[in-house]
């Protein structure tokens, strides 16, 4: 978040490290890229959080392990069912990610995977939040993982979902975070005040959800410093954000992050990462700012950030984060 890479193409792929530095040789050579990314970020988060094995693992993935799915389907299409590759088959399901994290980290507690298009991450996040607030878990590892193969990017470009014609930059996500009920002596990046999911296309319903969220958190809209939106350059996608901003939070500073990370089904996980980093540092860097409210080159003294994400203007999510 200190030195973001600005992309001049319509694709922002993950920059992969040498996974052999992090994983045993057999796991490294056998696992698909998305699995390796998920494993490495999850291991890093568990180590950085210092919580040890989490009580729960919640995974959000919109597309699942696309690379392995493609390999499996391609073999089935061109070579028939007799010669299917077992590794690609085993790794082609969406819940492979959460399962592999559990096996690798020896965390064999509650484990669930959510696949709900553009709100997959938020569903996993909400499950973790509920597990903790209801006392079912004290720690939960939450993640959003999606990859974009060249073939899949080409298909999504043709549909106008992303790519040059749509104005939206494609991306990939591998983001993990630890939610803790009791932080103890640890230094958390931020506090989760609440989360609301709303399904519908009217602003009234979204407004009600926003009111429930702020009331639940014991704050008002005016106490929110900024709204992190999923503006991505696609006209239809952005119109819904601009409409919500105009009606529901007209005086609040608007932020965006997808020009840095790109668009993918679970990019909302990166919005949490970006917002939590801002709250931890107490300032919002200028490259995230769109405008509105008290927009400036740097926005300091930030206390609360609202994350608003929608998928096709039907599934909406609101997450409220505050500084600790």
């Amino acid at each position: 978040m200190d030195n973001p890479i600005l992309h001049d193409s319509h694709l922002a792929p993950v920059i992969d490290p040498d996974y052999r530095e992090y994983l045993p040789p057999t796991l490294s050579r056998r696992s698909g890229k998305l699995l390796k990314r998920a494993l490495v970020v999850s291991r890093s988060v568990i180590e950085a959080a210092g919580t040890g094995c989490p009580d729960a693992i919640l995974t959000g993935t919109g597309f699942g392990c696309v690379e392995n799915t493609e390999a499996f389907l391609e073999a089935m299409t061109y070579e028939g069912e007799a010669c299917l590759k077992p590794t690609a088959f085993m790794q082609s399901t969406h819940n492979t990610i959460g399962s592999l994290i559990a096996i690798d980290t020896h965390c064999h507690g509650y484990n669930s995977t959510y696949t709900h298009k553009g709100t997959s991450f938020e569903c996993a996040f909400m499950d973790a939040y509920m597990q903790i607030t209801r006392g079912q878990a004290t720690t939960a590892l939450v993640g959003g993982y999606d990859e974009l193969t060249p073939h899949y990017y080409s298909m999504l470009s043709r549909t106008g979902y992303m790519g040059p014609a749509s104005g939206c930059m494609g991306g990939e996500a591998a983001v993990s975070m630890m939610l803790c009920g009791n932080t103890g002596n640890r230094q958390p990046l931020c506090r989760v005040e609440g989360i609301e999911l709303h399904y519908g296309s009217t602003l009234d319903g979204l407004g009600d959800a926003l009111q429930r969220l702020t009331e639940g958190a014991g704050c008002t809209l005016s106490s929110i410093d900024a709204v992190m939106t999923g503006l991505n350059g696609n006209a239809a996608n952005d119109a819904a954000y601009r409409s919500a901003a105009r009606v529901l939070f007209p005086d609040t500073h608007i932020l965006m992050y997808k020009h840095i990370f790109g668009e993918i089904r679970t990019s909302a996980g990166l919005a949490v990462y970006a917002s939590a980093t801002c709250l931890s540092k107490g300032r919002i860097p200028s490259f995230l700012s769109v405008g509105g409210g008290s927009a400036g080159s740097e926005h300091g003294g930030v206390q609360r950030i609202l994350l608003y994400n929608h998928c096709e203007n039907r599934a909406h999510s609101l997450i409220l984060l505050s500084s600790c």
């Binding site: 052999r20 040789p25 057999t26 056998r30 070579e79 007799a82 010669c83 590759k85 077992p86 590794t87």
Partner: protein, 85 residues
């Protein structure tokens, strides 16, 4: 036979994604499983698929694989005697 052994080594490196391994690193007579290349049961499944796909050899009895996959040379000899393509 040597040509088949070289071809087999390249195929195994490719199918099993053996990172940093070249055909020269694989000893023709070294065990594929355990101490040699360190392959495991999932790799054995991949090798069974490779045998059928590339050489038309179907291994119906998994115990057969234990003998055939002992080393690259034994595997190549079996392929040469039983291949249908």
């Amino acid at each position: 036979m040597n040509e088949l052994i070289q071809e087999l080594k390249l195929e195994i490196i490719n199918v099993l994604n053996l990172e940093d391994v070249t055909p020269a690193d694989i000893n023709d007579d070294a065990p594929l499983f355990g101490d040699g290349l360190g392959l495991d049961s999932i790799d054995a499944l991949e090798l069974i698929v490779l045998m059928e796909k590339n050489y038309g050899i179907k291994l119906a009895d998994p115990a057969q694989g234990r003998e055939i996959f002992k080393s690259i040379r034994i595997m190549a000899e079996y392929i040469q005697s039983n291949r249908t393509k």
